[in-house]
């Protein structure tokens, strides 16, 4: 598909470095965890998971996102998608746990919306570096929310893994995780030790070139799965013994260890 010329209709400043952009293009059929390729005209095109049917939530980290932060309401970006495999939608009566770190709350928030709307009980561990960077707290209002901040400015001081380590996770049917890869890997290790990692789903991030599962730039060792097409959401069982938590590849294909 060609990029859909999409107008920015609203911008919410979530934190000094994170903004949510709303568009006049709705991805009604999108499943939480799926992504769109966001074309910032004249700069680059980058993958962004949808934080809503018509929104992306962006952390300012590079050229494309910096350029996005210069755009205002009425400006346009090109959107292609939705692409990839999203999260499994929990069934009624299932117990779910959300574990989100930083801007990793963005892909999980639409899932929490669904859980809330269906009256399913969902518990959340929501972490960030400091209280200013806690994202979408109110959207996770579908059960208990445990907050952690690295600097202790709100909730428990420390990491989401500190909270997780003290929790009994045996009763959860599904555990959804997104955040920095190191955080996700620590979560994976804890849950694997408890042998519940097959109940988990992780949303991964890799360098995407084509975004449609052809070029192989985002393929993961050792199975050659494409994060853009076979993911970005993977079951914990699929990630066992993979490069997850160990390395990723840069735009030239060279390995970069975490």
């Amino acid at each position: 598909m060609r990029p859909i010329h999409s107008k920015i209709t609203e911008i919410i400043e979530e934190s000094p470095n994170v903004r949510t952009f709303f568009f006049d293009t709705q991805f009604e059929a999108a499943i939480p965890g799926q992504f769109v390729m966001v074309w910032v005209h004249g700069t680059d095109e980058v993958p962004m998971t949808l934080s809503g049917k018509n929104s992306i939530t962006v952390q300012k980290v590079g050229d494309a996102t910096s350029r996005m932060f210069e755009l205002g309401i009425g400006d346009h970006m090109g959107l292609r998608g939705p692409f990839g495999r999203g999260f499994t939608i929990p069934g009624n009566g299932e117990n779910v746990l959300f574990i989100a770190g930083g801007v990793g709350a963005a892909p999980i928030a639409p899932l929490a919306d669904i859980v809330k709307a269906r009256g399913i009980e969902g518990r959340t561990i929501l972490g960030s570096r400091c209280c200013d960077e806690l994202l979408f707290r109110e959207r996770f209002d579908c059960g208990r929310v445990d907050i952690t901040t690295d600097d202790g400015s709100e909730g428990r001081g420390g990491f989401v893994t500190d909270q997780l380590a003290e929790m009994d996770t045996s009763d959860y049917d599904r555990i959804y995780v997104c955040g920095p890869e190191i955080m996700m890997y620590k979560v994976f290790e804890i849950l694997k030790a408890r042998n519940v990692h097959v109940k988990t789903e992780f949303s991964l991030h890799r360098y995407f070139k084509c975004g449609i599962g052809v070029c192989g730039a985002c393929s993961m060792d050792p199975e050659g799965l494409c994060v853009c097409r076979d993911g970005p959401v993977f079951n914990g069982g699929e990630l066992e013994g993979s490069e997850f938590g160990h390395y990723e590849r840069d735009s030239s294909g060279r390995k970069c260890h975490f």
């Binding site: 598909m1 990029p3 010329h5 680059d44 292609r80 449609i212 730039a217 050659g224 494409c226 294909g253």
Partner: protein, 299 residues
Amino acid sequence: MKIAGIELKNPTILASGIMGTTGAALVRMSRNGAGAVVTKSIGPVPKKGHNNPSMVELECGYINAMGLPNPSYTGFCEEIGIAKSKTDAPLIASIFGGNATEFTEVAKGLLSSKPDCFELNVSCPHAEGYGASVGTEPDLVHEITASVVDAVDVPVWVKLTPNVTDITSIGRAAESAGASAVVAINTVRGMAIDIHSGYPILGNRFGGLSGPAVKPVAVKCVYDLYEALDVPVIGVGGITCPEDAIEMMLAGASAVEIGSAVHDDTQIFEKVNKGIDTYLQKYGYSYTEDITGLSHEMI
């Protein structure tokens, strides 16, 4: 089947630039039925490629300008080693350079990882100083091919660009320099523009067209090369089903490479192979060699 110096498991080959970034991806494609796999094009130094968008699906095919991203030959030997250790499908290393010296440096640099064959990319349409920039000159193609053939002890194939007036003159240059086969075609120069913003859609502004739109161009090039050369022709361009592969073989292809079609079906190799077998059986042929170039006898 032995074609152009290597023993293929079947006549469908993964084309260069598709799922060829890592050894694991190549192994995956061979497990999906590819008779051989071609790596992404590897050059003398690491390259990050063009900015995105670098590949977009259009109404008639795909347009791409990746910009030859690669970790250089020093960074890629490990990936070839992984692919070689985990599959018995022949591995063809696609390489590029700006001149004969660079091509030869890359080929020699990859030799330790034991590729079964080299495919010289003198045809990428959107990398300044590389690819088609050198592949449109018969003398340069001759010089590059001869230099690599001299330096390695495995077959050398040359992948040709259709963006020339006469592809057979380039094919002859490759053949006379010692190429074991020519591969036709690489993508056709093209461009797409977003009419709402006015911006060219690719980060590089223009690129190469692949997919169904280019198949008739590829069939004509294969047909012409089959007439003009003695070495085998490997057909590539827009093959999405068994019928496409058979058409390419009737035009003169000894084997086919499949690229963009992996988008719609990662099992495409298996599907095309089964279809070819059914066709051969239906019309009473024993081998694909029996139908290679058959359409030339119909006039």
